[in-house]
Homo-oligomer: 459 residues x 2
């Protein structure tokens, strides 16, 4: 551990140019795609995710690496500002120039459910390297061989110290407490994330801890939407919550539908065609079974199960009337990782109370009727959602400058930031202001005449 | 407390337009200046700061309020991004639009040493209101009457719930733990800030806590600078560290000078002309006396005192050779709030070790010779400084887009953000992404055609 952090501290990545880092990220993407077949095979053995899904995830992960290469090359993420002296102001303004600089070594806690895209060379690693921070990944125990294989790629492509891998729970604890580590990113459970967050903030020198934790991702179907396309919504719901065994942080875990609108019947009908899949680990499958059992044990609940089999988790719909949901919202709002969703049926005068019970989530979704004005509902949900989407399903998180993958507790430990999209890089950066600095001391991005031509604010 | 938070939650400020909030901030600035004479008189009674200084601080505070009004009006702070659908990407990109929205009620812990500019209507309050967050200020006990008088101005100018004031340590503790409070800003001591930070992060739902704490603000004088202008530097130093009884978070508390370069003699000579002033509270004066005593008790230390008197704190220079400093850096790096600075004299081969002992600070300063290349020294100090300045003094913090007032622990609890300058507003905002949203649901800043004409990124 000390060796890995010491190597990171000596790496010199903070002094590289943005183009150098972008070149390396692109080389990493190429290397990942070159080894695609071998990596997918290892991942399939370890995670039981389908090879088609894993193949797509490799493509996504390579796209993320190239995307952050582009973010680094462009330079807008530096938030550079150049202000000339103005003695007429109160207080007078000197020559002042601001830029963001890398925080230093970053600890990344890999996720189980995206063995490529949110693991060793995933979003956290790509954004931190783009920022100029060396990365030490704590491998997820769910896919150790894959973690080592992707780490070996990184070792081959990246200069010494830019990247390190550690394994085991003790190493994970040691990492977040290590004096040389300056920030941490995490994707996983509320319990695990909270434990590491507590360690990060109780250090003698607290460090930022960006944890992406649990999320129920409520979906609200209006009466008009149900009237117009109950069958489509029911089928779409089943496709979304059973996709890859329901192991998405953006899985729709709570679906709020108008009573008697036909959505539930459509979903139940579609459930028979949903595939039953093996979950990532036996422990997750057990937790899933326990979670479904706890939901099923509540009064007034109806459980509908799809096809099952040995060693797989059966797609399940838990239906509950609004009254029973409101009598015990905590039970129904607990995230259950796997192919299950809770469907709450509302009479029109119950919707408001259901919405009031919701916690912060990574996403919230509205299915509305054609031309229906859902402004009030959208404003209500915007207060608890990191991403608010319409007439679609939250699984699937696009990459871009406009993406936000975050939200208030318990969706994340740091609601001000995102773990997906260009601005994920902001997590690993701290500002510095230069006052009356000679030109040669300034980073080139702040020098007179903007020699590197980056987007910057000048006044 | 519950009443204040409930009123804040009901305030509706999050739904106001940027122009409405800007109008209110400007009205607040006008009101502050209209009552300038009365307010300065109250402040002078309570803080013992000079009326000239306090008068200037009112002007600064009004300028800050107007500055954040301008930040709100411009809208660039929203970081708006509009991305059109692109099905060719992996994963495919929907219509995705991102904006920042206010976090909700903000707790502001006022500082003692800037009874206007970092207190009731100071930077934290101005930036939070501009962001659209209601504010509840915990008054500093050092100026209770002034706090009430400025709070009364706010009550007269601002709509119900936008602003509240609470007093007393218990209220301060209750505030940061209150479920309705969504973020906190703090300016004060390491001990007080750490205690509140610990409460904020140990909540069932942790909230961001932006604390600006202690800072030693190292100054390095090169041998060439000393050779060229020892007298000017010595005099400037005394002016800076004794200004307003040395009660600045940016006071130069550690000055690293070449042995035998003449800077120390010049500073000692200037010390006789430095004013002895009464500190903000008797407790601070006692802590100052204790701090100086602890420094003076170390071996090899020379203490030079300026003029003193009853009830005032005597400007003091504590001189220490590099060897003695390096034998016990912790003692010499402890912030001592008041008119004292530690001068460390180095032989050329000792400078590196002294720099290695430094902690993070709000500022670091280099005095260099004419045309001297200080690139290596600047790079070294940029790793520990929020603001790096040249041939000047760190007291005095300009307002602007390029300003940064922050730094790593122990300078702040949140090194990724700033408490002064336009980007201070970023602390009170969280992103939201809208996916495939109908136009009428979107904030006007994200609608097609950019109807409000704000700076935004489109692709």
């Amino acid at each position: 551990m000390d060796d890995a952090v010491a190597a990171a501290s000596r790496s010199g990545i903070a002094r590289t140019t943005r183009d150098e880092r972008a070149d390396r990220l692109e080389a990493l993407a190429d290397a990942l795609e070159a080894d695609r077949a071998d990596l997918v095979a290892i991942a399939h053995d370890e995670t039981h995710l389908s090879t088609a899904r894993l193949d797509g995830e490799v493509t996504r992960t390579a796209a993320q690496l190239r995307f952050f290469a582009g973010v680094a090359r462009e330079g807008g993420y530096l938030e550079a500002v150049v202000e000339s002296p103005d003695p007429s102001l109160v207080p007078p303004r000197p020559d002042l120039r601001r830029i963001l600089r890398p925080l230093g070594p970053v600890a990344v806690y890999a996720a189980s459910n995206f063995p490529f895209a949110f693991s060793v060379l995933g979003n956290d690693t790509a954004s931190a390297l783009a920022a100029g921070c060396p990365v030490i990944v704590k491998a997820h125990p769910g896919h150790p061989e894959l973690s080592r294989a992707t780490a070996a790629l990184a070792a081959a492509v990246l200069p010494a110290g830019w990247f390190g891998l550690v394994e085991g729970m003790d190493a994970g604890v040691e990492l977040v407490r290590h004096p040389g580590v300056r920030a941490a990113g995490f994707t996983g459970s509320v319990r695990g994330g909270r434990a590491l967050f507590d360690l990060a903030v109780s250090r003698p020198d607290p460090i930022p801890f960006y944890g992406e934790l649990g999320s129920i991702n409520p979906v609200v179907v209006t009466r008009q939407a149900a009237a117009e396309r109950a069958a489509e919504i029911g089928t779409g719901l089943v496709g979304s919550f059973t996709r890859d065994a329901g192991q998405y942080c953006t899985k729709p875990g709570l679906v709020i539908i108008p009573a008697g609108g036909g959505v539930e019947e459509a979903a139940r009908a579609a459930l028979g065609d949903a595939p039953a899949s093996r979950q990532l680990t036996p422990r997750m499958a057990d937790a899933f079974a326990d979670g479904v059992e706890a939901l099923a044990a509540r009064p007034e609940v109806t459980v509908t199960r799809g096809s099952g089999g040995d060693g797989v988790s059966t797609p399940t719909i838990v239906s509950v009337p609004a009254g029973a949901f409101l009598a015990d919202p905590e039970t129904f709002l607990a995230e259950c990782f796997g192919p299950v969703t809770v469907v709450v049926s509302y009479a029109d005068d119950e919707l408001d109370r259901i919405l009031s019970a919701l916690e912060h989530s990574l996403t919230a979704t509205i299915h509305r009727g054609s031309g229906e004005d859902v402004t009030a509902l959208a404003e209500r949900l915007s207060g608890i959602a990191g991403r608010l989407l319409f007439d679609g399903w939250p699984t699937g998180v696009a990459i871009g400058w406009a993406q936000h993958h975050g939200g208030g507790w318990p969706a994340t430990t740091a609601s001000v930031h995102t773990s997906v999209g260009a601005t994920a890089i902001r997590r690993w950066l701290t500002p510095i202001a230069y006052q009356d600095a000679p030109q040669e001391v300034l980073p080139p991005e702040l020098r007179d005449g903007n020699p590197l031509g980056i987007p910057r604010r000048e006044s």
